[in-house]
Subunit: 331 residues, 2 copies
Amino acid sequence: MVTSRDVAKLAGVSQPTVSRALTDHPRVSESTKKRVRDAALALGYSTNAIGRALSVGRSDRIGLVVTDLENQFYANMIAPLHRELEQHGHELVLITESPASAPLPERVAAHGLAGVILSTTTVDSVQPSRLRDRGIPFVYLNRTAPSARADSVTVDPEPGVRELLSEAVALGHTRIGAIFGPRNTSTGEQREQVVRAVLDEHGLALAQRDVLHGPFDFGTGYEGLRTLHERGGGPTLLLCGNDVVAVGALNAAAELGVPVPAGISIAGFDDLPTSRWALVRLSTVAYDLDAVAREAARLVVARVAKPDTELAHVVYPTHYVSRATVGGPRA
Amino acid sequence: MVTSRDVAKLAGVSQPTVSRALTDHPRVSESTKKRVRDAALALGYSTNAIGRALSVGRSDRIGLVVTDLENQFYANMIAPLHRELEQHGHELVLITESPASAPLPERVAAHGLAGVILSTTTVDSVQPSRLRDRGIPFVYLNRTAPSARADSVTVDPEPGVRELLSEAVALGHTRIGAIFGPRNTSTGEQREQVVRAVLDEHGLALAQRDVLHGPFDFGTGYEGLRTLHERGGGPTLLLCGNDVVAVGALNAAAELGVPVPAGISIAGFDDLPTSRWALVRLSTVAYDLDAVAREAARLVVARVAKPDTELAHVVYPTHYVSRATVGGPRA
DNA sequence: ATCGGTTGTGCATACGCATACAGTCGCGGT
DNA sequence: ACCGCGACTGTATGCGTATGCACAACCGAT
């Protein structure tokens, strides 16, 4: 392995000078900088991230903590996050919150992460307060936790939900059901509250029996629609906690031979790329998923660089995208 | 930050003893081990990965190098890879081969990765020989490069393709087209060769005008089907380089109002989870994607632990899964 | 010519951990 | 009683980089 000392020898300078030259320290003359750079290039040297991390006390690695990597929602977050972090010279480390393994704060500290992006659904599992105790910057992505003071980037469901329900009401839907996300989730609860509030404005309410809850995954939507179908005479419009759930419902409907939207209308939330497929054409409450992810990346990076600046709470708007899965209620 | 020295002080031993106790060194008495463990627990200590990595000369981090994180194929690899690596005490770092940034070997070395899983489509971009020069273990996932001696886990297209084409011929298809993967790809080339060979056994051949090539992405399938459709009178069965391409074609067909399989049959390769959706029901050449990914993870881990053991080339079989997108040829 | 100030570089050291080596202690055998 | 050996544990050091500090060289001003 070629070290900065090797470069130093070749360039005829000391090791610290190599370090300074390569980090563009102002107190190094241009001529030495050039000599050092040439030597580094000749030897194929690139500074050892581990040594650097140990020396400066932190790495350039950002952890992304998610509940479930299989989930399409998280899968779609990874690419934009990675791109943005890479541009800032950081790398992305994936972490899942498996209850089996060590508590997250310990794992994060042990891995020497510079910062963490929390995008888990369940609120308490990561013990954010203990993260703060350890001085590890973290940012909430698509969820918040008021008690834990940290940057966050979230989405405001209201405009999108308002548009969606206006259209639904105009189409004549009165019996509306929902498959919401898990109850202990800020995202899930917020979406549920907004839906109920906006429905209330229209003089409508969700019947108890038309409301289901479950994790934000395919199975929740799939099983949910089957449950409602078995009961018979269910809602004419089914609001889903997110697109993954909605697609699960859509697939169950297809299997059961229930036409969408003629038999039942289905709406989602998130506007994932798959929802735009001609095979899916999911009507959904949309927002700029890539921008949200990139913003989270920017926030951690900024927080890592300057831990004591004012907290940022970025909120993205939503809008309704009407495609093919919401139509008039069945006769 | 709590260090091993803090633990040492609390436990009344020296720092090296802490290190040895926590790594379960045989020459440390059970009583001191217990005292050290208790002290560590009391202080919430976990060994600093950076310090450890610098000391032992390598980290426990495995890099996954992919062409395109957006691609569903890679997205589906990540979860099983992560799980398997985590079980072995390694973590997963994502790396994309962006031509813009530094050459991969330098980046890998700089990040201090213990090993690398190469799952890029293009063969030469990563310069595997230079990886070997630097002594960084790497493993090929879903591709090979005969010149570079390294472990690999691949898939044998033949049994699946054979089943697929038997069924297609039995159904009466004679005019068969294909959208293959990129030409400079081991996976793409292999699949193409096998298809041509098996077709040849049936006395069939691909007409030049019915064969397209392109990257393994949605757009390739989408544009490909549109191109064939515009020309008119195309093949009755379209073989796609992988499921992502096939789904692209499927969506184009849906937009164009071409019924599948009545208007055209479409087959894929990989059997991604989305291909099983009731909305998709893609007939495809399948293999155990999770097992392939996990095997790759196991191979790097083993290679990192013992760099000089014999090379492993694991090949998984394929089989054909007949769902809804392949039927008899149009009249 | 002398001196304060600036510029550029080297020296020493620290980061947290692991490990080769040296040392201590206690035990059993003669 | 002495020696030797094994069982533990401490000391010293190294991994590769960054950085505070000291120092040398040089500049311009008096």
